[in-house]
């Protein structure tokens, strides 16, 4: 008995194996169910409570004597008539104009709706108005030509797409936008080499450009700790830490050294 049982063993094993091998195909046909991929949740931003918002304002000064603005020779185009001083550093009694002021850091993951209204860039007297422009990423920039001559608008960005379009007199406004954040993006007109301006593309609506008195104001800021950047086309960037308490109107002045030009 014992022996015969033993003899059967390998046979049994063989059969078992064959069975196993046969099963192999059928096994594991059930698929591991996968949970539907959850869409990445939009970063939850603390909503801005209009009742608590504060503001930052101030004045930007030029420390030291402003260099004498260089003269522009507009004689190459008889259609160009206007002030003929370069706008590189515009400073009236030490108040520095054309400084772009924006909240560089401190807004966290908040996202902001892009305003529907376009920002206008006007060409008249063979000059850009304004000389320094702030715009939100994606917001329309409407470019007009009020001159009796042809201009071309040629931004030379680092991080946005470059383009260069011609705009004859009385042509319809050109509408463009910039997708990515970029500070002091130079824009020029190839036909009038003195025509230069700077577009600042930011992601928040909290920005301003200093006027001829060097003044600026950023309104509607939710309370928080911010880094405010002051950027000038030639004098570079300076930053300041500012804490805004609810409903507070904070003052943040800044000054640039006139040297280093």
């Amino acid at each position: 008995m014992k022996k015969s049982r033993l003899a059967i063993l390998p046979l049994l094993a063989l059969v078992g194996l064959l069975l196993l091998a046969g099963c192999n195909k059928k096994e594991n046909t059930e698929q591991s169910s996968s949970a539907p991929a959850s869409a990445p949740a939009a970063p939850t931003a603390t909503p801005i409570d209009p009742a608590t918002v504060g503001s930052i304002s101030g004045a930007v000064k030029l420390d030291g004597a402003a260099p004498k603005p260089s003269k522009i020779d507009m004689s190459q185009d008889p259609a160009c008539k206007g002030a003929n001083e370069a706008e590189t550093i515009v400073s009236d009694k030490g108040n520095l104009a054309n400084v772009f002021v924006y909240v560089k850091d401190g807004l966290g993951s908040r996202t902001f709706d892009v305003p529907k209204d376009p920002v206008v860039l006007d060409q008249s007297g063979c000059r850009y108005h304004p000389h320094v422009l702030g715009v939100m990423a994606g917001q329309t920039v409407q470019i007009k030509n009020d001159d009796p001559t042809t201009h071309n608008i040629h931004p030379t960005p680092k991080d946005n797409r470059e383009w260069n379009e011609s705009q004859p007199p009385q042509a319809a406004p050109i509408e463009k936008n910039f997708a990515r954040e970029e500070i002091m993006l130079p824009v020029k007109c190839n036909q009038h080499p003195w025509m230069k301006m700077y577009v600042n593309v930011v992601k928040s609506p909290f920005y301003a450009v200093t006027d001829k008195d060097g003044k600026y104001e950023i309104k509607g800021l939710p309370p928080g700790d911010y880094t405010i950047a002051f950027v000038h086309e030639k004098l570079g960037e300076q930053t300041q830490k500012v804490t805004v308490a609810p409903k507070e109107s904070k003052t943040a002045d800044q000054s640039f050294k006139a040297g280093g030009m």
């Binding site: 033993l6 063993l9 094993a13 591991s32 001559t149 040629h154 470059e162 011609s166 042509a171 050109i174």
Partner: protein, 1090 residues
């Protein structure tokens, strides 16, 4: 035999063997089981992979399909889709009633046809049978014909589906049948026409969905799921008999060719922390575009990746990572070594290749002078070809001599011949030999032309040391030789580990063998102006200046930060003015530098240049140029003086502070020096007197990657390498190892090359060797990435087992591209120009050119150069970029650029290759047959002129006119060049959208609008354009192509410009460019308008 009683303790009966059997059976069973298991799984690890693959891929597809559904919904939600959908619905709606009607008619007709057909075919069969009888039985023809007519006249009744009956005779029946069929065909065609808008709208809709789905459509995913479900475990094999490729890689790498992007993360099991082996194996090929070009069904996997494609028993075996396999899988760092298998002849792998390691390796091999010591097929071909030409010359001259002798002998015999017949025969033979000699002369002439080209093309990586005495601060030489990278980090000159005695001997030989000719004395220049020129003329496209963070410029040529310590002013001025200017020509035939004395002997003036390149002694080609790639910027001597003056201010210590090295004049050192120069192969990179024909001292590297590992000499480190021990201790050299000090065994090709490149003398470590036995390879002081690139290049340098047609050796225009890149990289054209988007030139990367105004000063982009310019013009331009024989200190086309297109003294051969290269890059046919430009009528001319000068298209505001005052502000070429230079169709494309051709150009887009199939000027059009239906662009281009200087002047003055000069900028007529005004110091010659 007596019966023996069975012993009580008979072992057979009494002892149980059950245990033995048990053990034996268990063992047998176990081995059987093992054998079965091994057969099914052990030897087939890929089965486990395929099993996992099924599960994971199905899971992946499930999640992908839900995403796909979402994105399809998104696509379907878009307004464009809705519009297309609406179009489809509308088309369907419009078509439906008619379609239904048609379909009903067709159905009815079909039924009728069927009814007629059943009767008709029956009767036709009978008619055919009778006809056959008539044909085969001529005897009874008439009677059968009668029967046939009778039969045809009989009527048969057709019962239509509507129940009506109609009798027809045979002819009527046939007619009815055919007409019914005709009707049906017409209706079917009509149905097709009616459905056409519907099918079109449907196709548009499908196309839209396919175009806008980022991933696969749900339907495609379902297909993939089905395919995966049906997968039976089996070996997946690519078998290319022609190339002997059998690759079973896809038995495990199941995802390689899937049409979705599979990453290790996406193929990991849910909740897995890190991707396991399965997940890593299942990723899709990271570069599907590459697979598209290299179809795996033709190329397999292993020709690119190596490894053992046939092995399936383990990962190590399959990847070839075992002792007995010579071609282990390339590691990630050296992946591109595989490209070399077929692309050894390419300098650039693809036209559009940026940041490829293998291309960098090739470039380093060439630029660092590796080929000075190591032969490598395809690199530095000119000297070899020159040598073979010299041999041919010798052979041909010998033949000619023999022929002359033989023919003289024959003629002599002819004169003394006994019969006229014999004399004539001998004379004929003599004449034949003389004709043969004239053929040899022609052949020699061609060889000379070729040698002339080759001599121009042949370059040396290092400077000509025959000029050492004229050029260098004597005391600086030994300091330099001690450790070149100490004086100039990043220099091409490697560190040779020379002893002081060797340095003294070598410098003595160089010094004493150098030319002693005198150089013209140069006046001192203006360093400030020199600095301005140096920074703007384009020197920095190749050279760099400054150190560390202040370093500016390209890495192609020397860093000039300390050039003031070593250079001689008079020589430097000549060098900057024209680096190719040689002190004495060299005759490779005589192996001799030719001097004024040789010319004087033949009463010839001592003039040698490309036009006077024949040796006065024997008429063979001379080397009349310095063998440098440095071009001439066509500067005035004054400008060259200014730049040299500026450069000499670049120093960290005074040249006079170098220790005295008067030992260099010791004649006893000379022989010793020559010995060491020969030993170290200095002549591989430098021209050195008396060493011109030295061969390469290193081993050939063409197939270095396929050398058996035993033939790579690890010296004392074989064992250490196998155990993963790091022999390099010098921290400087350790930092060169791409993956840092060894952490794993490195006894392989990769390890050998990396260590050799990081510290070439490493394999001498621990050995006792004499000075002459020590390894000669110098330390090239490479950076990590450079070692990696060169290692990749060497690993790929293998003797390919693939058939010849796998090698990328195209014979069509792609060959022109291949050949062109060798020249483009040779002269560093990419230092200034962009050939395709994404490839940044050295100048573009400089700080200066980040400014918007300086950006306009960048050299032109050459994206579409072949489509832009007339190839014959391009050849002339490449030969002389000033486009003038007399007024050369300027750019011929873009006079307004401060940066200068240099004269490279390209040989005819290289000019030809470059022109073909540009034409091929832009898919332009050669030879070029210019389009004819129609002559405009006076009315058209008037219209075009009004457009040309309108305020809305102020062309002449930016484009140069040749008028000095105007051109001071010009930023674009003169229109008068267009006719000879440009292709009219390109100009038309250019003026409609220049930004698409050269992004960032000063020329604005939007000048013309495409309205109803016509290109119309965007600004207010002059009244004469009323009713003009042709393209405004075409009119303007035609006008530009027939613009005359007079016309341009008239237009310019009518636009309120100052009067233009009479001169056109076209060839030969000198004109005044903007550069003169911008640069007050430049050439004092000619100024102002004429």
């Amino acid at each position: 035999m007596p019966d023996k009683p069975v012993p009580d303790n008979d072992p057979i009966v009494t002892k149980s063997y059950a245990a033995h059997y048990m053990i034996a059976v268990t063992l047998l069973t176990a081995s059987l089981l093992w054998a079965l298991w091994d057969e099914a799984f052990g030897m087939r690890p890929w089965k486990a992979y395929q099993h996992e693959w099924k599960q994971r891929y199905t899971a992946f597809l499930k999640s992908a399909s839900s995403k796909s559904d979402v994105s399809q919904k998104e696509v379907e939600g878009s307004s464009d889709y809705q519009k297309l959908k609406q179009d489809l619905d509308q088309a369907t709606q419009q078509a439906t009633p008619h379609v239904r009607d048609l379909q009903k008619q067709i159905g009815d007709l079909s039924a009728k046809i069927l009814a007629v057909q059943s009767v008709f075919t029956d009767r036709r069969a009978y008619v055919n049978a009778l006809t056959y009888q008539i044909e085969t039985n001529p005897s009874s023809k008439q009677s059968i014909q009668k029967d046939l007519d009778k039969y045809k006249a009989q009527t048969a009744t057709v019962e239509y589906p509507d129940g009506s009956k109609q009798p027809y005779n045979f002819e009527q029946l046939e007619e009815t049948y055919n007409s019914l069929k005709d009707q049906r065909a017409k209706l079917n065609a009509e149905l097709g026409d009616t459905l056409k808008p519907v099918t079109q709208a449907k196709a548009a809709l499908d196309e839209y969905v396919n175009d806008h789905m980022v991933d696969l459509t749900p339907a495609q995913i379902v297909g993939l799921e089905k395919k995966t479900e049906d997968l039976d475990p089996s070996i997946q094999q690519i078998n290319v008999a022609e190339a002997n490729i059998v690759d079973r890689c896809e038995s495990c790498h199941m995802g390689a060719r899937e049409p979705v992007k599979l990453t290790a993360a996406s193929m990991s099991e849910k909740g897995a922390k890190a991707p396991d082996d399965f997940a890593k194996a299942f990723v899709s090929h990271p570069n599907p575009a590459l697979l598209q070009v290299h179809d795996p069904d033709k190329f397999g996997c292993s020709p690119c990746h190596q490894g053992n494609g046939r092995a399936t028993t383990s990962i190590e075996k399959a990847h070839g990572n075992y002792e007995h396999w010579l071609w282990p899988l390339y590691t990630k760092q050296n992946l591109e070594a595989g490209c070399q298998t077929c692309h050894a002849a390419d300098m650039m792998l693809v036209s559009g290749d940026v940041g490829w390691t293998i291309s960098k390796g090739k470039d380093l091999f060439r630029q660092r002078g590796c080929m000075g010591c190591h032969r490598y097929e395809g690199y530095d071909k000119e000297p070899e070809e020159l040598q073979s030409l010299n041999q041919q010359i010798k052979q041909l001259e010998g033949e000619r001599r023999d022929n002359t002798k033989q023919s003289a002998y024959l003629m002599k015999r002819a004169d003394a011949a006994e019969s006229n017949d014999e004399a004539n025969k001998l004379n004929d033979e003599a004449v034949g030999l003389r004709v043969a000699n004239s053929k040899i002369d022609g052949r020699l002439q061609q060889i000379d032309f070729r040698a002339h080209s080759l001599m121009q093309d042949a370059k040396k990586v290092g400077p000509n040391l025959k000029d050492a005495r004229l050029k260098l601060n004597k005391n600086w030489i030994p300091v330099w030789l001690k450790k070149p990278s100490e004086f100039r980090p990043g220099t091409k000159m490697p560190n040779f580990r020379l002893t002081d005695a060797q340095i003294q001997a070598i410098s003595a030989y160089i010094w004493q063998s150098g030319f002693t000719d005198s150089l013209p004395h140069q006046k001192p220049g203006n360093a400030d102006h020199g600095k301005e020129l140096f920074e703007t003329r384009g020197c920095l496209a190749c050279h760099s200046i400054g150190e560390g963070d202040d370093l500016q410029g390209g890495t192609f040529s020397a860093n000039l930060t300390r050039v003031g310590e070593k250079a001689n002013y008079d020589y430097l001025v000549r060098w900057i003015h024209n680096a190719r200017e040689r002190t004495r020509p060299y005759c490779p035939y005589e192996k001799k530098d030719i001097g004024p004395e040789d010319y004087a002997k033949k009463n010839l003036p001592y003039v040698f240049d490309l036009a006077h390149s024949k040796c006065p002694n024997d008429g063979h080609e001379l080397q009349v140029q310095n063998m440098t790639v440095m071009p001439s910027l066509r500067l005035s001597v004054e400008d060259a003086q200014d730049i040299a003056t500026y450069l000499l201010t670049q120093k960290k210590q005074e040249p006079s502070t170098y220790a005295d090295a008067s030992f260099m004049d010791d004649p006893k050192l000379k022989d010793e020096g020559q010995k060491w120069i020969r030993h170290y192969g200095c002549a591989g990179c430098h021209e050195i007197s008396g060493m011109e024909d030295e061969g390469r001292i290193g081993t050939e590297l063409t197939f270095e990657g396929s050398k058996p590992i035993e033939r790579l000499d690890f010296a004392l480190f074989t064992e250490g390498a196998e155990r993963g021990k790091e022999p390099i201790t010098n921290p400087e050299d350790l930092a060169r190892l791409p993956e840092g000090p060894a952490k794993a065994p490195w006894y392989d090709h990769k390890g050998f090359f990396e260590h050799k490149l990081a510290e070439p003398e490493i394999y001498d470590k621990g050995m006792v060797k004499s000075e002459t036995e020590a390894l000669r390879m110098p330390n090239l002081h490479l950076a990590k990435d450079q070692v990696q690139a060169l290692t990749t290049f060497l690993l790929g340098s293998q003797e390919s087992g693939l058939p010849a047609n796998y090698q990328y050796r195209p014979q069509d225009t792609r060959r022109d591209i291949q050949e062109g890149w060798w020249i483009v990289t040779k002269y560093n054209c990419v230092g200034c120009h962009q050939f395709f988007p994404g490839q940044d030139s050295s100048l573009m990367k400089m700080k200066k050119y980040q400014d918007a105004d300086w950006k306009e000063q960048l050299p032109p982009k050459l994206y579409t150069e072949g489509a832009r310019v007339n190839p014959e013009w391009l050849r002339r331009f490449l030969a002389n970029p000033s486009l003038s024989d007399t007024d050369t200190n300027r750019n011929g086309v873009r006079a307004y650029l401060k940066v200068r297109m240099p004269t490279f003294s390209l040989s005819d051969d290289e000019q030809r290759k470059l022109v073909r290269f540009f034409q091929a890059l832009s898919q332009q046919p050669l030879p070029y047959i210019p389009q004819s430009v129609p002559t405009l009528t006076s009315k058209e001319t008037e219209m075009a002129r009004s457009l040309f000068s309108s305020t809305a298209a102020p062309c002449l505001k930016c484009h140069a006119t040749g008028d000095a005052q105007h051109d001071a502000h010009a930023t674009a070429p003169n229109f008068l060049l267009a006719k000879e230079r440009l292709k009219p169709d390109w100009v038309e494309r250019w003026i409609t959208d220049p930004q698409a051709i050269s992004p960032g150009t000063s020329m604005p887009s939007g000048l013309f609008n495409h309205v109803n199939g016509q290109w119309v000027f965007a600004g207010p059009t002059p009244p004469s354009f009323q009713g003009y239906t042709q393209d405004h662009t075409k009119l303007l281009v035609d006008y530009i192509f027939q613009l005359t200087p007079e016309e341009q002047r008239r237009v310019a003055s009518s636009m309120g410009r100052s009067t233009a000069s009479n001169s056109a900028p076209a060839s030969k007529k000198p004109s005044v460019g903007a550069t003169r005004h911008a640069l007050p110091h430049s050439g004092a010659s000619a100024g102002g308008s004429r």
